[in-house]
Subunit: 447 residues, 2 copies
């Protein structure tokens, strides 16, 4: 059976916090609750009202500057001038669809496919990570003839009917697909086992067997290799190879969801799967691909994709349009010219070291600090011996950090892991802002 959680509701404004708010924000929230559906959530007990961004910094309506340590959409930096100019230029020229010929989509496809293993040789474009995962699962099901999909226990893969049913992170209100199964993400902090890679592979085999017992043929393992919403588990490079061997031995495909680790963020590699020396069958991307322009993609082995594409036309009106492609090209330009992958590795390593020092100064609260490049999990516990997750502390800490103008949020099944994932220009000079804010906040909170 698939297990469920309610993590999505953790860092959220609720009406009981209304008296914390200044008048302008109170009015905006009242308008929101009147105009927008109740499915919408705001971050923070005291939500932030942003009006401007640049690089890794954001400003609110009163001119306060924030350090963004959370948003991987504006991955090469908020309002990056190279991306802004590329998009504006193409908007003045032409914005149409893929039923007419256009070079830009081909030039981009060649460039991005060159960053992948040669077996991944085909591209398709959509607008959101949800759309990419929705299509990837359908392709996997057509190719394998199976329906069973395995995801991790706290996974989030999208917001469509199909991908919501593969996203236990959405909470108990959202039913999982009957053909879905979950496995716990590989957590070296709590497992402590030297055999974690084999154990993880074995849990996948067990779920494949469970599907088979109920007459469901296995189709795919869909995972983000840094296990972002499970609590950020980069693990050691190569660690996932055994699990993917199990997937392939059972006739399934591996869909690497690169919405989180892709586009140079982990420093060690351009793609999350590449840290593990894997060749996925399907790769999906989203958030950072266009630095905020709605573009996503499915990259695939030609024969896997053909099982779908030879029989069903797929047309995504806005997918792969010249403007979105211009944004995506500019993102690659910036990553190269600003050496952001190397930068993510260098500054990420320095950041990790500094965060571990905060942990040393607050040993009763900080259980583990782990990361790859600029993707770091900072885990809060009630005490380091029991490793009991301290969600209350994590939520209080978020608010304290917000008061010190450091924006982040939480992840993991217990909502106790700070997810530190800044825009890639995040600089060595920003580290002290975060670490001092963490240090003071933990002290203020008596930890």
């Amino acid at each position: 059976m698939a297990t469920r959680s309610t993590i999505m509701d953790t860092n959220s404004y609720r009406d009981e916090f209304v008296d914390l708010l200044p008048p302008q924000e109170k009015e905006l929230i009242q308008r929101r609750s009147q105009l927008l559906g109740s499915a919408y959530r705001l971050f923070y007990r005291k939500p932030v009202h942003l009006v401007r961004g640049r690089g890794q910094y954001l400003w609110d309506a009163e001119g306060n500057q924030y350090l963004d340590v959370y948003n991987n959409v504006a991955s090469v930096g908020h309002a990056h001038p190279v991306v802004v100019e590329a998009v504006s230029r193409q908007l003045r020229q032409l914005n149409t669809h893929t039923r007419y010929l256009h070079e830009a989509i081909l030039d981009y496809s060649e460039r991005i496919l060159a960053t992948m293993p040669a077996a991944i040789d085909t591209a398709m474009y959509m607008c959101t990570g949800s759309e990419a995962n929705d299509l990837a699962v359908r392709v996997a099901q057509r190719y394998t003839g199976g329906q069973g999909v395995i995801v991790t226990r706290e996974a989030y893969h999208g917001t469509s009917a199909l991908t919501s049913g593969l996203s236990p992170a959405l909470g108990a209100g959202q039913e999982m697909l009957p053909t879905a199964r979950t496995v716990a993400a590989p957590d070296p902090y709590r497992s402590g086992s030297a055999e974690l890679a084999q154990q993880f592979a074995a849990t996948i085999q067990a779920q494949i067997d469970d599907l088979a017992e109920e007459g469901v043929k296995f189709a795919a393992f869909l995972a983000d290799s840094i296990f972002s919403s499970d609590g950020v588990f980069p693990n050691h490079p190569g660690m996932l190879a055994a699990a993917i061997d199990v997937v392939h031995r059972n006739g399934g495909v591996f869909i690497a969801d690169e919405v989180q680790p892709g586009f140079a963020r982990t420093g060690e590699a351009f793609w999350g799967f590449a840290r593990h020396n894997l060749v996925p069958d399907l790769v999906t991307t989203g958030k950072p691909m266009g630095n905020g322009m709605p573009i996503s993609a499915l990259f695939a082995k030609k024969d896997v994709l053909a099982a779908f594409g030879d029989h069903i036309p797929y047309f995504n009106t806005f997918g792969g349009n010249p403007v979105s492609i211009a944004a995506a090209q500019a993102v690659l330009d910036v990553i190269e010219t600003e050496r952001l992958q190397e930068h993510a590795q260098e500054v990420g390593t320095e950041f990790l070291t500094a965060l571990r020092q905060v942990g040393v100064a607050h040993p009763s609260a900080v259980g583990d600090v782990r990361g790859a490049g600029l993707f770091i999990g900072f885990e809060l516990v009630t005490d380091p011996e029991s490793k009991t997750p301290d969600k209350a502390l994590a939520l209080d800490l978020l608010e304290e950090l917000r008061e010190r103008r450091v924006l982040t949020s939480v992840a993991g099944p217990f909502g106790n892991v700070l997810k530190l994932r800044p825009p890639l220009p995040f600089a060595a000079a920003d580290i002290s802002w975060v670490c001092e804010a963490l240090d003071i906040s933990l002290t203020v909170l008596g930890r």
Copy 2:
């Protein structure tokens, strides 16, 4: 049972046409087939290679100017400077998501909801029409507790797993949902009945009964009120009221898919459903909303939406971001300042009259010309008595029109209806370009 078609493949390049192509286009097509998935389709036997657009005009790589009589995405005109400037300005400022407070999404929601019946009072934002329909169907299913969805026989509602299963236009390769049923779109040309409204309502009741017999509770009727992919049937205003009464009497909801008729296109009203004096329960939008920026929306009665939103968080990373909203606001500005709704009605009426004159000059080929505003169907038949659809003529005609630099495509279960749906700035002066091209092309084709 749901019936199927293969219309999606009609106006498509196929490899057998390769020798028609100049060298540059041949090379682009070879790169496409190598780099992009086989699910992609190109328009025309001799695809068009576009590099620039402005207003209702497009230019190819050799500098040839085309009249665009097809694309409703760049609805207020290709590269409209007001939209370009609004998007560029906001890109320089901030592009982030709905978990922080921002005025723009609230200002836009107030403005767009003011164009609808008061009962439709809540907005949610996505990136594509597919995402809007996917969510709308899930909301309808939660609200009603049913699963059954009725669509028209040639409907296209999206590309996600759920919406593909509600899109018979995708052809026989795509399975329909077992809980889907189809009805023929109301076709006054072929039915000739004065009782068409009642007959259409009765076919919906029959499908609701058929669902009930198989134990499936009825949830929704999902339709585009101009029946675009069914062959463009505007019908007379008010005609759909009886059908929607049946939907409501059976406890279902009506989802008005406004991706096609919305945003002033029909001239007679800002929304397609408004032509019929209806109050839908859910309204979805897409293509024209941001003039090419990927933005879509679901507008809803608060209580209908609450059945979903009170239980499941919905977060669409790029949905409702300030840049997409800036595009959508600019589109409304342009529609107002350029009086595009009035313009669509005036020039659309004139266009319809001129097209009917073409029909009079070619009575053996043109069976019917019908439309509302700038959404016109031009139906080709083998002879006007039998009304037998002439798909071969329609496809030949498309290519002849392309040679005369008029871009359009076909619709309908038989692929024999030209879908004339230009950007709204389409001017009275453009009418003769289209009509002369049609006249000469039909003559060249011996009709």
